[in-house]
């Protein structure tokens, strides 16, 4: 029998290969977010949104290497704070440590897969605060959120903390990733206030995204990457489990499209592409908590309901004047909560009460933390661009650079 950790152990190679492929798929979700968020906002703020999404990946990965990975999974908090774990001190070049001796993948694979996850939590916030947040303070928020808040919540559930012990089931992170991002997004929206011109004379005015092809590319890339996000959360290439997760994930996304399509067609009187894009994502967020334990039929129901919810949620947030340009709170927070609770409803092995406790505990901690962070930044350096800059667009204001040089664009929209 071969050494179970040697490169000649075929099962080890096969499992680890799947985890690395999953990592690559999660990576490209960052492009998905960049496209979705920039497509759904105005052309005059595009450079700024792209800049945020590129830099957040970098900040997310680096802070996770320095501190996040240790906080989330480390035995030794001091080692964590000093970044020993993320940068691999004490690990041999093949990524083998005692803790990984029997696992399906190496230490390095674990780190890089988790690092890609961590970076998504911060990215979710960026869409909600788009078109008015100052770049520098937002990057500070993101760095702190991904370096401290996400790993703490992650530790609670996946690192051996109280939520995991309780029996809270969040397979790939409807709560731990998506609602964490979503609560941050909500706090940002509340502290920042709406975009200029969004609510005028008691009326909500639609502000259309400047490129639906870009938004559609974003949605498809997110769905594409979700196969790594959910499929990789099996933490091995186990054929039955990974393929089952693929099926539930796909059916939920498809049902989310249908749910949002029919709801928007009936409520808004026409089939709304941006709602359908959010419907797919709603279905995906919704199934993420339970993709491993609910049946294919339940996946269709969960995804379909998420697609209905997201339409009403987008319209509802708008009614209460919480201005989220891309619907990030509806998709990631509301559907993240729905998906987490749904596991308690659709799986007999999971307690609804435990799910509720998880949702509430993570929500209270994340919203409070994000609110304090945004509030402190507002009170000190300021988080909102000037009204002049907002009207002119952040591309010129923050970056001195148009996104579409040479095109005739009406920035007054």
């Amino acid at each position: 029998m071969p050494d179970p950790r040697a490169a000649t152990d075929a099962l080890f190679v096969a499992n680890n290969t799947w985890m690395l492929v999953a990592t690559v798929l999660v990576f490209i979700m960052h492009l998905g977010f960049a496209c979705l968020e920039s497509g759904m906002t105005r052309a005059k703020n595009t450079t700024n949104i792209l800049f945020k999404n590129v830099s957040i990946v970098a900040i997310g990965v680096l802070t996770y290497a320095i501190i996040g990975f240790s906080l989330m999974y480390g035995d030794d908090v001091l080692a964590g704070v000093l970044g020993f774990r993320g940068l691999g001190i004490g690990t041999d070049a093949a990524g083998v440590t005692a803790a990984y001796a029997d696992g399906a993948y190496t230490y390095w694979t674990d780190f890089i897969f988790q690092a890609m996850f961590a970076a998504t939590a911060a990215t979710i916030v960026s869409g909600a605060v788009a078109e008015r947040v100052r770049l520098g303070p937002f990057l500070v928020f993101s760095a702190l959120y991904v370096a401290l808040i996400y790993p703490i919540v992650g530790f609670w559930t996946w690192g051996g903390g109280w939520l995991g012990s309780l029996g809270f089931h969040d397979f790939a992170g409807s709560t731990i990733v998506h609602s964490v991002g979503g609560w941050g997004a909500l706090a940002g929206v509340v502290v920042l206030g709406p975009r200029l011109g969004k609510y005028v004379g008691g009326q909500s005015r639609p502000i259309m995204g400047h490129s639906l092809p870009l938004a559609t590319i974003g949605m498809f890339l997110l769905w594409f990457g979700w196969y790594g996000f959910n499929g990789g959360s099996v933490l091995s290439g186990d054929p039955g489990k990974v393929s089952f997760v693929f099926v539930t994930t796909t059916l939920a996304a498809a049902a989310g499209v249908m749910g949002a399509m029919w709801t928007s067609w009936i409520v808004q009187k026409h089939p709304d592409l941006s709602m359908v894009l959010n419907g797919a994502l709603a279905g995906l967020v919704g199934i993420t908590a339970g993709a491993d334990v609910v049946s294919p039929l339940s996946a269709i129901v969960i995804g379909g309901i998420a697609g209905v919810i997201v339409v009403f949620s987008v319209l509802g947030f708008d009614r209460v004047r919480l201005d989220d340009p891309v619907g990030a709170t509806s998709v990631h927070l509301v559907c993240g909560v729905w998906g987490t609770l749904a596991v308690g409803l659709f799986s007999s092995d999971v307690s609804f009460l435990d799910q509720l406790i998880g949702v509430a505990g993570v929500g209270a901690f994340c919203f409070a933390s994000a609110f304090v962070l945004f509030w402190a930044l507002r009170a000190t350096v300021g988080i909102r661009v000037s009204a002049d800059e907002e009207l002119l667009g952040l591309d010129i204001g923050e970056h001195g650079m148009e996104a579409y040089a040479g095109f005739q664009i009406f920035t007054t929209q």
Copy 2:
């Protein structure tokens, strides 16, 4: 020796992992189609095209789960109609049933890989009928075509039906997927008629696509996904077979580019990017039937000829006033037929006559079915938007939503 179906069976994990990766690659072809079709048509119809492509994926996957998978591979038609098979009644969570006990992948993997295939057949139609078809009736057509017509033809060849028994060789679906979509496209074009302003005073007027970058992204993503489409059709990770298919697929695509480039440079007097994009796709469609059995040199010849054919086909369809905005009939139907026949010419193990019978049988059934479907929809609810809506663009007419809000666009093109 380990249990051949356990998650600890390394060969099973490795094979299944490849099939799941192939599934992900086929999935992203839907984004490829969305980009290609919207890029090659006018800006005023972009939202509509994107909407169709997003919803067709969802419809395709769901109908395949409910009925298509059972029809195509099921033993029991009644179980099929009731969707037992697709939703996995009688299957354990690991996706193991008697039929899969010795295979290279799980039941769930089989379903999800096949479901992604099924959805492509309907998507092919959408480009050909773009810019004038009504959304609702088109979605009805797509649902019926992917739920009933595609699985029947698939059953004939891959599910144990008469074409497979005959010796008809269609490795990954030049006929079973691409020409099925292509015949549907042709029927749609015939029943719908050309776009307003396309043929004026006995002249064909060029209607340019609004974004060649979008079209190019689409072509590259389709080529990218084709490695899963053809590579996954090996139905295992068999190193020799999958890598051989990669080589023939790549060489045919490259030769298709060259064939279309030179042909268009000579015939049209300048090197035409849209022809070259279609040339790559022509090469890919052409090799799809025989990627496993023709030599690399034959792959170059088959792909190169497909690249030549596609240019003359696009010009030819235009001459006979069949208005296909994206060239879907030329790429998927004409080159699908060519590729299927080419297997009979380039492989000594395959009979040309059997290939001809397969092409004719599938063609007669699909064209007739699609024609009847489109004709019935036209006769009842109508399938074409009003002339006013066509001039204004379907984005406003059907969706109340521009694709490029804020940009100055000349919709009169």
Copy 3:
């Protein structure tokens, strides 16, 4: 014990699957280049750039099949010239020859992975000469460069030649791929001269790219593909090695973003998105030579320095009036050199002197070859479009086809 080359050998399947996935990832880098280069140049030259990138993939793969693969790895030069090796004469359908009997992948996998690499070297040149080079002569240059120059240099290092014997360490090609492309780019820029209007009255005038979303999509796809480029260069699915390479690659890219962000923020007084995009690529190019042998911490340092270098390099090339529209020389040449030398600095097993010899030897050969090729083409058929065509844009001039039909675009930019 199973036959080590049979499709039932799980380790063989797992390793080969990873190499094929890596191949697919490297393939999509060509779309990355297409998007990056077209996004960073003007809308009036977009069709031309896309055309070049599509056709170079095809030319690269075909010439590599016919001659390059044999030149680079063949025992028999005559067989090489006649293309026996690339097209697989003498190889059985399973891709097994004596030379591959104990390897981790098949002959066909080797060919297709290497062919994708080869095509990137030529693509790098296209961005630097964009917006003024004639299409035909450029394609001739590309075909010769990828068919002859790249394989010769590749043979020196990876095929058993003098640089490999010397101890020169270039893991995945900072020098062998990126600087080869970069030297070609530099030669092209020198021979072609700057774009009209770039340097006027002793001043350098900024010429902005027309679509930063397109450029950002390009950067992300390149980063995405780099996991195949570097990860595949392990030449097996060895879990420790591939995952380690993933970590160093990711950290270097992230550090490159940070390095370029801070440098541009300080030097240019605003955070410049195009610099940050190049910063990510600079980090990736920089780590490519040593991704397998430097520590994660060193990867951060190497990538961060590359990010700083690329900003000064772009500004420096502009100061000496070498007009490279997309910064290809800075990213691929300057950072390729930096990354190669850095291995000598950060790995105790590699000699700095050997690295310097490799850089100098490859540089002298490639720059001289590329210069002669461009010079000979200029002296005979001419390589630059007319001034009228340059002002009008190459899309109309060379292709008779706008990239954005229907959009109001100011081509006078």
